[in-house]
């Protein structure tokens, strides 16, 4: 009888010790992974529009530059208005889907980046999706230098299809000639489908 009590005590002591060990025990399993960082072409590619050839790009021209600090490629579009007249540029920039799936695009985040020689001379400027048609809101609008409509609706580009962007612009007749009035940031958002 005494022997069985001792055995019981030993078992209890062992259980307590095991419990203490369990308190301090930890198991972790590390699964090793490695990640390749690849690159691919962007879903759309921008081309200068046909109107950039009009008068050797007097009214619209485009290029791009590289920002070494952030690594960004930034597309730069020059749009020239005629003070006191209405200018319609119907084919300033083309945005083409280079994926083999549809891509939705829209113009968004219009904001005044730099008031250089009088943004308020820009009485009206609209950057619009001329083609494909169908968007309920197909243009972003700047009035008196301030963006008042900052985002268009999406349009869908099928593989290989290009959107055409145009610009309508009215510059105040009192604006100086041959001056850069302001710089705007206008983003083109691209959403691949499927």
């Amino acid at each position: 009888m005494v022997g069985s009590e001792n055995v019981g005590r030993r078992v209890a002591l062992l259980a307590v010790l095991l419990g203490v060990v369990a308190l301090f025990a930890a198991v972790s399993v590390i699964n090793v992974t490695y990640w390749y960082v690849n690159t691919t072409a962007p879903p759309v590619i921008k081309y200068v529009g046909n109107d950039t050839r009009v008068m050797n790009g007097t009214f619209v021209k485009a290029d791009w530059y590289y920002d070494p600090n952030t690594g960004l490629n930034i597309t730069r579009v020059y749009v020239t208005g005629v003070p006191g007249d209405v200018a319609n540029i119907t084919n300033a920039l083309r945005v083409c889907n280079r994926y083999n799936v549809p891509v939705k695009i829209r113009i968004t985040d219009v904001s005044l980046l730099q008031d250089i020689n009088g943004a308020n001379y820009i009485r009206y400027m609209a950057v619009k999706i001329v083609d494909p048609p169908g968007a309920a809101d197909n243009k972003v609008v700047i009035q008196n230098g301030t963006a008042v409509d900052t985002t268009t609706d999406y349009v869908t580009l099928q593989p290989g299809q290009c959107a055409i962007l145009g610009v309508d612009i009215i510059i105040d007749a009192n604006a100086p000639y041959n001056k850069t009035l302001a710089a705007y940031q206008i983003n083109i958002e691209k959403v691949p489908q499927q």
């Binding site: 530059y65 930034i74 730069r76 943004a119 008042v148 900052t150």
Partner: protein, 409 residues
């Protein structure tokens, strides 16, 4: 009859005499034991002390008394005390003892002492013993076993810090890794006033870490040195010497253009930081003002600090959100004036004040517009010199590790 009286007297008197002697003798019943009163032995000594019989080869320092705790041991076999004295003032206790047992004796070699020194143990009974201390004066901070010797080349006041991990900072900028992290700085044969300040990581797991002064975290020890071309700084792993708190006013406000220009539909705005919270830390040598501020697209962690040498400094760390925004101005720090690049630092000169900056380009106008930075930027370390005496961050010419060895073996 006479014989009986004599026998009775002896039988009564002699045990009584023994009993009285046992009661009244200084050693009690030990008075009847044979053997030595005490023994003097060598106690616990650091490895750099060479011992030969009862001769100890010790060091002394010019900077402070060199303690050798429990260097000697007196084993008493009687309940008595022995007198202790030394010929060089190396023993503070005048007597040790009491009950039988072992009694440690601390030895403290006075600063600057060199030569032979006797530690004498005596007892009124005539017992005596002695230990010889052979002391060599060495240019070393007492008690330390190792030191880092940093050779610097520069000019003007430099604020040097050592972190617990052995990183050597100069004006808060990490400059080198040294083998010893300690609180005792010896420069130009002087022990420098030093400070202790803790730093914590404001965001975990960053490389390089984003740290800020704090009441908790890892310790850095700091001191000021005035460099004149090539000099050597000794850093010992030892307890901080007692430093009187200097009366230092707080750092001046950080008057500078800080922020980025952001486009908005209505026009560009300058995204300047707004202070969220600010804490003052006062060390023995500096007053530090730590501030966290936020803006639309970044958070700024900045601390400025005043010093007793006429210069002051700042450290700025930006954390930008990832955006697709363009900007025409990125001003991480611009107190005014033209930005110049001199070697690996940036310099502004505003009136008679020179701002020295190490880190990313502190001010940039983008034409054409450039992208707004993303993520954690490298820290900007700023030293502001209204004195015109500062020569920039010094060069670390060499770092050496030295370990104290016994001077005789």
């Amino acid at each position: 009859m006479w014989r009986e009286q004599a026998a009775r007297t002896l039988l009564f008197f002699l045990p009584t005499l023994v009993f009285i002697i046992a009661l009244t003798a200084p050693g009690g019943d030990y008075a009847f034991r044979a053997g030595p009163l005490a023994e003097v032995a060598v106690g616990q000594l650091p490895y750099y002390v060479y011992v030969s019989n009862k001769t100890l080869h010790l060091y002394s320092s010019p900077y402070a008394p060199w303690p050798y705790p429990k260097a000697l041991e007196v084993k008493l076999f009687y309940p008595t005390k022995v007198l202790v004295s030394s010929t060089c003032g190396a023993v503070a206790a005048s007597s040790v003892g009491g009950d039988p047992g072992s009694y440690p004796v601390d030895v403290v070699v006075p600063p600057g002492f060199q030569g032979d020194c006797w530690v004498n143990f005596t007892h009124t009974s005539g017992w005596r013993d002695a230990v010889l201390l052979r002391v060599r004066l060495v240019d070393w901070y007492p008690g330390a076993t190792e030191r880092a010797v940093v050779t610097l080349n520069g000019s003007g006041w430099q604020f040097v810090q050592v972190g617990q991990g052995g990183t050597l900072y100069i004006w808060e900028r990490p400059m080198a890794q040294i083998p010893v992290a300690g609180c005792v700085f010896v420069y130009n044969r002087s022990v420098l006033l030093s400070e202790t300040q803790r730093y914590r990581e404001v965001a975990p797991n960053l490389i390089p870490p984003a740290v800020a002064p704090s009441s908790s975290g890892s310790v850095r020890y700091g001191a000021f040195i005035k460099l004149d071309r090539v000099s050597q700084l000794y850093i010992y792993k030892a307890d901080c010497p007692t430093t009187p708190r200097l009366n230092i006013s707080g750092p001046p406000p950080l008057r500078a253009e800080i922020g980025v220009t952001l486009p908005t539909p209505t026009g560009p705005v300058f995204d300047a930081p707004v202070v969220n919270n600010s804490v003052i830390y006062t060390t023995g040598l500096r007053v530090i003002n730590y501030t966290e501020a936020s803006a639309r697209i970044y958070r700024l962690y900045v601390y400025t600090y005043s010093t007793p040498v006429g210069l002051w400094g700042a450290v700025l760390r930006f954390n930008f959100a990832l955006t697709a925004l363009l900007t025409v101005k990125i001003s991480l720090f611009r107190p005014g004036g033209e930005l110049q690049r001199v070697g690996d630092v940036w310099i502004y000169r505003v009136d008679n004040v020179t701002y020295w900056i190490y880190g990313p380009q502190p001010y940039r106008l983008c034409d054409p517009p450039c992208g707004v930075p993303a993520g954690w930027q490298e820290p900007l370390y700023v030293v502001v010199d209204p004195t015109g005496q500062w020569g920039g961050w010094p060069k670390i010419v060499a770092v050496r590790h030295e370990v104290l060895q016994p001077w005789r073996s």
